[in-house]
Symmetry: D2
Subunit: 433 residues, 4 copies
């Protein structure tokens, strides 16, 4: 989590202050549940809430340097601030009851921040896909011109993919919204399932089905996988923007800011640096998945090896993805689309992309596929080598002309027919969940 | 996919024969849909089905060496076998219409094979968890004795985790059950959404929301992530078996086969080689996730870089996970549990694990947490260094004795009280989805 | 290791037959060393060599199904074939003495196969870089035209990178050429360092500095890392070929085979499928690195979790990289370079790439950098928007004209001056190790 | 790079202040080289050095928010501070000339910091290995008791592995000590190889063989791989400490700090949290390798996707590894070794580990291996099931007694003989590079 790639909301979420405040949130919810169960004196939580404690993160860390234990340091600090009633906090609990329930809250909230940002990207893609639903564009496979599509269909593909990634993230959020208040090895030795359920319900969490000392880490691995999927979906979008912007293609480009300088050496350059940056960040976000999976196999009722991984990668991966979503939305909103270039590139192959239609028509006339293929290919190759336009070469081919009269060829070379389903496709993406 | 780690059902599923048969399945479903739409002559598919073609994988590969294109080679072979009616196959389709729809079928079926095997593992864990719900065991955090739990609770934790992984796999199966019959760049230039929907419905697939030349690869990445999650869940189980079996712990071990030899040098050794093997295979399965994510960002309407990755890793990852599930189920079914060792290990700490209960009781007597902590720790340290049993040392501590009379200490040192929720926890895992 | 991506030499190397033959090689070398040390009867190895045993892999595997131990199965088979003298084989050794020394031999030989193939790629790149050392080309950063370079310099960059990767692979080969004949936990309980040194020397291996039951796995992790580096170097080359070949760029392309078909739908397409394939395979090869690193932390004197990983990934990663090197060499050797397109693309920006030279000249005339930057940029922007050629616009700018007379501008717009070091750079790559 | 896992030297190295100071270092070295080549006025660098500029990182970032270009912001700031002579800086250079040469310096220095810390770990392991060279310990494979080794041999294995990782890191440091001062696409359009060589020599760097706009990223990937190898080597050490410390083994443990608290719930627990933490951090460090490999295939003469990855992961991976090395050294230095427990565990199997010796002796008496194996195993199994000590059971086995008289059995059951090479092995690790 470096400032450059950290939106403020994530800096706030993963700050020491928020962490300790969330711990207190968990302790107080647990206290309320224990009061209900008459395990601790009634009113404890209310009294402590009334004190509106101002936790001092630096002081907690100072204490931790001696105790080498973060939750004990936290509790010591709380007791120092709040006095006697704080003694009832944490009764029968283990540190992980606080840490894992708190971590679940933070990850759930991080997911919420991400979903909001994903919504903005979805909206941006939807608007631009709708706008360009019928803007013709050459489709490319292998980087080579294939058949026509529309710029809106291309964006709709990204829209559908981002929506799927958003749905995965929402599922991951559900899966991670699980805490535990179950004691040292998850057996409720000094607690009860009822106390846990009540405490967690106050926090909007569900109890872990079977906890050990900790909540099971497959939940976290699934969460990080969902982040990686969203990052990959953004990477595909970013990669395509980079292709569209390259000098020879020039079909679309990132909005160039006022005062922005492209290069210290070449003042005219307008580089797709935002989307290149997104491609790099995607590598960073998905790099968190493997460590998260390696965290699953904790020993016995837990070891603490997962903790350092999560300390580093949970803020990094969520904040970076948050930044990516904001940046991607900005790119899409501001994307400058050059319709003339789209048209010029489309026409550059002189209609070679209609070859499939010609081939099909020949087959319908009774030709064997291989025969039709060869007949089309010999004309396509001539056109490709600049010996004439594809349409004219076909018309002039006596063998082919005998099978397909001019008016039939004209019908095949009709762009609007080729794109007759473009709006349908875009609408399908708009309507998808 | 090496024979050693490939169950026969997966070898069959990923064989050349099955692949080509699935391609034909897709072509025929598409032909039926096109007949419906009157794009090709009625009866084409029925005629071809009637021929009961015996595809020859070796011949297809021979043709491919010339064409360097697998689907063209396949179609050439089909046409050679079936003659005229085969000309109507593949009309207006692109290779990926066949390949991706077929791949979706194979991955869906692979998931089904995996789910069946996951069910066996779930059943095995459920049976053993139920059996040992109340078998006491020392819980361990950091590899160090913590508080008591039961062997059934430990297994129930694995049961709940495997069930979650199974649910993720089921979702991934849904997500991947998507094909496309939409032509070169997904625009239905010579087809229609209706034809696609009808063709895919015959195959049990849904149409891709927006396809390019291919089905979007985020679906595949999610699928491989689900495989990785299951592998990680098995790894945790396997890791714990390895711990339980180690010489000094000896609480449970893999069933030792008749005639099996542990070591060429040490005939008495019984090594947890099955579960060690599972840990290694888990690394292999999850190694497929990153390539699958790297496959997402295909260029424009597709490049073919994903293909080689999938050719290698889809069989590998699914077959290996299938093998893992079978092996893991076998390990759990045959796990030899040594209840005496469980009891002996539990008792080895002389009840030190009741220290938390003592501390809580002291706090309830009004002591500050830190004070109680120190009072308990001084006796715990003596017990730990062998200066007496913890229970007796506590009884002999005058300061402590003044606060907690013997009968109260006895109540704290009651194992069945500590484990009173074990059955509840196991039942919760059994009832979970 | 699937047939499609496995060169025959690698299929042979990783066959069961070769594996068992290599085990025998190790056993016999060990026997010779033990004879020297008078641990076993003189002549044992010679007698066994004289028998020219034909090992039967299927039979070994049949035995293994009972013993569940591969080396015991192997030894049982050898004893069945060779009778009494075979009893002296493996004396005081542990299975891993055979397995790890044998694995070191196989990995060393695999590296040799890879190095030979890397040499071919190096030669191809060297030849083409030399050929095109002075073929002008527009250099591109961010996909946007930057300043001129040459096609030979571009290839020389790949040449230098492949050479570095080759050097890394050579180092990894050295690092892995390490075996052990040191017994169950590496202490030579029934052997000696001398016997080990002598046995391994016969195999061209060095002894592990400190072995446990196995050779340390950091060596293997380094080996797989070197494979990943070579794959990444090939990926960069392949990515650039793909860019060069794309329709709008068209500067170079993969040789199109006789009879090859680009697409079932678009007969005129010539797709960079070989290099796209290389990009995909690169993902596969580098996916072996993380599992190899996870293999390092074996428990105590070893666990066997590494074994399954290596069984699957060592053949896969080496064979696939072997295939990549062959394919990459073929692509470079056959690369069709379109010099006219190179020239046309270079000229398309009307000399905008000389802007840096103009700016420098202005600064040399005493202008502040920012001032010079703005003066150049205003003309660059006009040229970029098609309001005239950059050279002419500059000449017509009165403020600029006052500082830089025409002859000075002409000198700046001299391509051969800009490329005066191209040959030097290419020569540097040719001369590098 | 979070404070918790960042040693101060790394925080300093990767600070904004150091980064900008390093940029200035590069610019001044380049200026000196250009003065030599008479490209800029003599004395420029000296004048600028004389000013002892105090760069203001916050101000540079303020400027960057407008220019969206970090090096232009930096140069603008320098010019604002230094006035006219600063105009001569950066002449003919591209931003990456500064950034990449500077990054090479920082990575070289980071490697130096790491090597120093690796030396401390090497020293600690050497000292403890020497100390315990002859301290007997049971060797374990698969977590199961195997044959005796010594605690010193175990440490020597780690020592040799850390030394190898250190050597790899040193090589990576050499590989990364490469800069470029070669202009926009590496062709020296306004510079020369001589200027570059002179500038870089002043910085202790070598010129890139063939640069594009940037130094080739395979160098960085190799660097990160070396970090991952060291992390893996530490992970193996940490894993073994965790095993040694677990309750049932208890052979060694991390030094427990004054005031440290093991658990909020169980005051007597002494958890191996430092080494668990090292295992987690190892996952983080090696997670940087894949992104670094993905960074290699930059498009054409570069894209900037690598930059964000490096901004995040270079500080993270180096600082975290620095922390790991410090922590690992501390653990080894302070490791508390319980020789009695080592002895007790060794003796727990009643000499079963001598079974191999018995078997060998039987074979030497002329028995077939399988026969000997069975004879040993039947007694081993009895001993294993508590039916007597292995030595006594063997003595009482009439068939065996007929072949091996008591004095011969006694010689086999001699621990010092089994460990006769322990000192040699330790010495070999001490002497290794």
């Amino acid at each position: 989590m470096i400032p450059r790639y950290t939106p403020p909301a994530f800096a706030e979420l993963w700050s020491d202050d928020t962490r300790y405040a969330t711990w207190l949130e968990v302790e107080l919810a647990a206290a309320e549940a224990m009061e209900e169960a008459q395990l601790i004196p009634a009113g404890t939580a209310a009294t402590l809430r009334g004190l509106e404690l101002k936790l001092d993160a630096a002081e907690i860390e100072r204490i931790e340097r001696t105790t080498r234990h973060d939750v004990i340091a936290f509790l010591t600090h709380v007791e120092a601030l709040a006095g006697a009633p704080a003694r009832w906090l944490h009764r029968g609990m283990t540190s992980s009851d606080v840490l894992d329930s708190s971590f679940a809250l933070l990850l759930t909230r991080a997911a919420e921040l991400l979903l909001t940002r994903a919504d903005r990207l979805v909206d941006a893609l939807a608007a631009r896909a709708r706008q360009h639903a019928l803007t013709p564009m050459i489709g490319r496979s292998h980087g080579i011109h294939a058949e026509p599509t529309t710029f809106g269909v291309a964006l709709a593909g990204h829209l559908a993919e981002i929506k799927r990634a958003r749905a995965q993230l929402r599922q991951a959020q559900q899966l991670i919204a699980v805490g535990k208040i179950a004691g040292a090895v998850g057996t409720y030795a000094h607690l009860s399932p009822e106390v846990e359920a009540s405490a967690l319900a106050r926090l909007g969490l569900r109890p872990e089905t079977v906890s050990t000392q900790v909540v099971a880490r497959d939940r976290h691995a699934a969460y990080f996988s969902a982040l990686g999927l969203m990052a990959a979906a953004i990477e595909r979008l970013a990669t395509n923007v980079r292709h569209w912007q390259r000098t020879e293609v020039g079909e679309a480009e990132e909005r160039f800011g006022q005062g922005q300088k492209g290069s210290s050496a070449m003042p005219h350059k307008r580089n797709p640096i935002l989307t290149e940056n997104l491609c790099g960040l995607s590598r960073v976000v998905r790099a968190a998945i493997t460590p998260a999976l390696e965290n699953v196999a904790l020993w016995h009722e837990r070891d603490i090896s997962h903790s350092s991984v999560e300390r580093m990668l949970a803020p990094d991966a969520t904040a970076t993805l948050g930044f990516m979503l904001e940046r991607a939305a900005g790119v899409v909103e501001g994307l400058v689309v050059y319709e003339e270039r789209l048209r010029a590139n489309l026409e550059r192959s002189g209609g070679l992309y209609f070859s499939e239609g010609v081939m099909l028509a020949l087959v319908e006339q009774g030709l064997a596929r291989q025969r039709a293929y060869e007949m089309v290919q010999r004309n396509a190759m001539k056109a490709f080598h600049g010996e004439g336009s594809f349409r004219e070469l076909l018309g002039a081919d006596p063998e082919l002309g005998a099978l397909l009269p001019a008016h039939q060829l004209d019908a095949i070379f009709d762009l609007s027919h080729a794109l007759r389903f473009a709006q349908t496709i875009v609408d399908r993406a708009l309507a998808a969940d």
